[in-house]
């Protein structure tokens, strides 16, 4: 390797070590984001406050309420009559009501309308749907148990047996944490790179650099390589937190994980450098980086929201977002294993995007000021 490149890289590493904002973006931000998401964001409702109203207590109602109390999904609060419960629901003190009507014991095991009234607060549709599922589950279990007690078996025409592969415990953390790695890598690759290049423009160091015999290729490599190392460091930190703090399983190979991360990082670095050739102030570069890389990585990558359910035009847009491919690989390698039919096409897309962005940057960057 030539001395010019080595000199540039050493300079960059020294600057990273001495610049608190680089350290903040590369190491503090990932930790904070992982903690917020790992602990703060969960789609798995537990201990949902549910009001229970029992009109006429009988052994049957008792066993039903006990079934609810046993479930970790509910936090049961009893009300003496339905009006009070409705009031509580209206005031948002509880999220749902289970009302066991007076004729519960008589009607429970017969066909037709159930003697149970269930009302949920549907404002948060997702939450409400999950709550519905839980109540249905408790009801089905109770029916089965009652049937057994009476010496029979509960017979439904079709008995649905569900199996959720890759995440049988249905822990949302297991897919949020791997997906978040893509967001973090976007921050390091694109936002940080765009900011540091814009800083060189602002401080006039680029002008001095350009008047030396160093070539544009060396200047670009001198930026890409150190931030590549930094990005992979952030990746390693995130993976370590995912595995040992959040206990997300890693079913595929680490090699595939880091290989695809390397490709994604190159694409993100390319985007960061591209932004900085367009915006020569840190403020504008930061704004553009957040709007065109961070937000899409968050919303349109399939990290939280299912891409297949988005409207057609938005689905098309997601194809130009590198994070989309990386999220697919991350969730697969963590939860499913080395599934080459997912890894190869998405990896190829990442490679193409990396080549595209870095190629454009190499073409657009001139050792000139005009």
């Amino acid at each position: 390797m030539n001395t010019r490149l080595v000199g540039l890289m050493r300079k960059e590493l020294l600057q990273i070590v001495r610049d608190p904002s680089a350290i903040a973006i590369a190491f503090v931000l990932p930790v904070v984001l992982l903690l917020i998401f790992g602990y703060g964001v969960s789609l798995d409702a537990k201990h949902v406050l549910v009001g229970v109203v029992v009109d006429a207590p009988t052994p049957q109602t008792q066993s039903f309420v006990a079934g609810m109390r046993r479930s970790e999904y509910f936090s049961v609060q009893t009300f003496s009559d339905i009006h009070r419960a409705r009031e509580a629901l209206r005031e948002r003190r509880i999220n749902g009501i289970v009302w066991l009507r007076g004729d519960f014991s008589r009607l429970a095991l017969t066909a037709g309308d159930a003697p149970v009234g269930v009302v949920v607060n549907g404002v948060d549709a997702n939450d409400a749907r999950i709550l519905e599922g839980y109540v249905q589950g408790v009801w089905a279990q109770w029916l089965e148990r009652e049937a057994q007690l009476r010496g029979g078996r509960l017979t439904l025409p079709v008995d649905l047996q569900s199996r959720i592969w890759y995440n049988p415990a249905v822990r949302s953390r297991d897919y949020l944490v791997p997906g978040l790695i893509a967001v973090i890598m976007t921050l390091i690759g694109a936002l940080l790179t765009a900011l540091v290049v814009a800083r060189e423009w602002e401080r006039g160091t680029y002008e001095a650099l350009m008047a030396t015999p160093v070539s544009m290729r060396e200047i670009l490599l001198g930026k890409v390589l150190p931030y590549f190392v930094l990005g992979m460091g952030g990746m390693a930190l995130s993976v370590a937190m995912a595995l040992w703090l959040f206990h997300v399983p890693l079913r595929g190979s680490a090699l595939v994980l880091f290989g695809s991360a390397a490709l994604f990082l190159l694409a993100a670095l390319g985007m960061g450098l591209l932004i900085s050739t367009a915006a020569k102030s840190q403020f504008v570069a930061g704004l553009i980086a957040i709007i065109v890389t961070f937000l899409p990585a968050f919303i349109l990558s399939g990290f939280i929201f299912d891409i297949r359910s988005m409207p057609e035009p938005i689905q098309i847009i997601t194809h130009i977002i590198a994070a989309r491919y990386f999220v697919a690989i991350l969730q697969t390698v963590f939860l499913a294993g080395n599934v080459w039919s997912v890894i190869l096409p998405n990896g190829a897309a990442l490679l193409a995007m990396a080549l595209f962005f870095l190629g454009i940057v190499a073409r657009l960057s001139r050792k000139r000021l005009d």
Binding site: G7, K11, R203, G204, T205, E207, A208, A211, P213, D370
Partner: protein, 570 residues
């Protein structure tokens, strides 16, 4: 005949969005050897010329040949053989002195074996040896410039391009920088092309290139420029107290092209065929005279007399500003150490010193922007920091960078500041009209402040500070970066204001501007080195071999004395 080292052939360069070309059909040939000075007012195209020579810009028309290489096709070869130091040299401030040197040695591919010897040479030349481990960001302005120069010199270049290397640098460092450049030329045979705003630096130059609005005005030895002025330059002797009034009256005389306050009196440059006033003694023309004679637009004589009305003059002779033992620390760094002075009503009072001397910190404390760590101060009898808001209505303030709202137009800026000071209705309209007329801003009224030429930004900043007719005017480095012509005009205005009874407190790092002040303090490293009238301070540096020292001599002398004192105390 030797091959020219730098050739411009019919070079034109335009920037999108600019009205005219930055350089237009420029022809220029530099022979190797010696120092060539590049002079011209703001916007003359000096920086563009240097960037073109370094191959950082491509000419729109014509061609540039540096060291025998066309910069358009062989930029890499050019950049391998030249040294270029941009105006704000991009030192990596979070790298140490040594790390900066290492970086540039790597970039210039200086073989490792040669490094120790070259580093030793450069550090000796720049006297930066003891600071090798210090971060570049913590160096003083002068030391930064020297380090920047050292970085460009890591591998001795055949052609060295320097863009205003001495701007904002104290006189001591300025002399040191020139000494380095001169030695370089003598020892290494380097050719230096240097642009500068200090006209007295023409004395160092073998040849002077003078530009205006992108066109070449002349390329000669400086003596050739001054020759036509023989017999047109005079000195009118005057005492300290009367120079300002004299300058004002001379300036408006029809025969006078330029009148400048000097230590001994007022220096005059007459128009061609003009007659000197009585008592004037002939003086030798300098490059500055030629610069003004060639570039000063015709028809701009003296400005109209004071347009600031004094409402109810309170009893004069009072001390308007009093500072006692003022100190300010930032962490462990003591920016201002026990400064004391007092300013009387109607005085022009100067705070002189290099960057980092503590002028701006003192200034910000006076304006109530920064609480002092120790000592006391009062402005018009109150501390502006704790005084009721109305007290601030008596002062006007122009900050270092002509702080204006860049994306507001000239009119909107003026309108906002007049409302901020509570002007309304007819009074506000009247003052706005006054400001536009007085400062000749009418043609620019709808232009955004950020897009104004620097000289007009300065005018707008001053106009904004005068909308409410303050009694006291605070000016922080109001002439920094402004070309010599704009500086002259600016001082004319200050003179006029002072004549109308406004108290002016001004900071500057131009030593010759000290002569405009009634009294001043010289500051260095947070301390007052000397206080008094300009003559009193100059006298402190008088020696047998130097009976009439300049303010710059005095400054250098006082700093050396001060440092010697510190050393002997240690």
């Amino acid at each position: 005949m030797t091959q020219p080292i730098l050739v411009f052939e019919g070079v034109t360069k335009r920037f999108s969005g600019a009205a005219g070309p930055a350089l237009e059909a420029l022809d220029l040939t530099l022979e190797p050897g010696g120092i060539v000075g590049l002079f011209g007012p703001d916007g003359a195209g000096k920086t563009t010329l240097l960037r073109l020579a370094a191959g950082l810009l491509r000419p729109d028309a014509g061609k540039v040949v540096a060291l025998g290489h066309d910069t358009r096709r062989e930029a890499a070869a050019v950049q391998g053989a030249i040294g270029y130091m941009p105006q704000h040299f991009g030192l990596y401030e979070d790298l140490t002195v040594q790390e900066n040197l290492d970086l540039y040695a790597d970039l210039q591919s200086l073989p490792r074996a040669e490094r120790p010897q070259r580093y030793a040479e450069l550090l000796r030349l720049t006297a930066l040896g003891p600071f090798g481990a210090r971060l570049a960001g913590q160096l003083s302005g002068g030391m930064k410039q020297k380090l920047g120069l050292a970085c460009t010199l890591v591998r001795p270049p055949r052609l060295l391009l320097l863009d205003e290397p001495t701007v904002g640098v104290d006189p001591v460092s300025r002399r040191e920088l020139w000494a380095i450049i001169e030695r370089l030329v003598q020892e290494g045979g380097t050719t230096v092309l240097v642009s500068t705003a200090y006209l007295d630096e023409a004395q160092h130059c073998r040849e002077v290139v003078l530009l205006r609005e992108g066109k070449l005005i002349g390329q000669h030895q400086s003596a050739v420029f001054t020759a036509p002025l023989a017999g047109r330059v005079y000195m009118v002797p005057a005492g300290e107290g009367e120079r300002r009034a004299l300058q004002r009256s001379l300036e408006s005389a029809s025969d006078v092209l330029d009148a400048l306050i000097q230590p001994e009196g007022v220096r005059l440059v007459l128009k061609e065929g003009g007659a000197p006033p009585a008592g004037a003694q002939p003086a030798a023309p300098r490059f500055e005279d030629a610069f003004v004679a060639l570039l000063k637009p015709a028809g701009t004589g003296a400005l109209p007399a004071a347009a600031v009305r004094r409402a109810d003059d309170p009893p004069s002779d009072g001390e308007v500003i009093r500072v006692q033992n003022l100190g300010r620390r930032f962490g462990s760094f003591e920016a201002v150490k026990g400064v004391s002075f007092a300013v009387r009503r109607g005085e022009v009072f100067g705070l002189l010193g290099a960057n980092g001397a503590g002028k701006t910190t003192t200034f910000r404390m006076l304006c109530g922007l920064l609480p002092p760590s120790s000592g006391s101060l009062s402005v018009a009898g109150v501390d502006l920091r704790s005084a009721p808001a109305q007290a601030r209505g008596h002062i006007g303030y122009v900050s270092q960078k002509f702080s204006l709202y860049g994306n507001l137009s000239v009119e909107q800026n003026l309108g906002f500041f007049s409302s901020a000071y509570g002007l309304a209705g007819a009074r506000r309209r009247e003052r706005m009209a006054w400001a536009l007329a007085e400062f000749e801003l009418t043609p620019y009224r709808r232009v955004n402040a950020a897009d104004l030429p620097l000289g007009y930004k300065q005018r707008l900043a001053l106009a904004s500070a005068l909308m409410h007719e303050p009694d006291i005017l605070f000016l922080d480095e109001p002439t920094s970066g402004v070309d010599p012509l704009a500086r002259r005009e600016f001082w004319q205005r200050i003179n006029t204001l002072a004549a109308a009874g406004v108290t002016v407190l001004i900071t500057t790092h131009f030593m010759e501007e000290a002569e405009y002040c009634d009294r001043l303090v010289l500051m260095s490293l947070g301390e007052v080195l000397a206080a008094g009238t300009p003559a009193q301070i100059r006298a402190r540096a008088a020696r047998e071999d130097r009976l009439h020292p300049s303010m710059e001599d005095a400054f250098v002398e006082l700093i050396e004395q001060h440092e010697a004192g510190l050393r002997s105390a240690a």
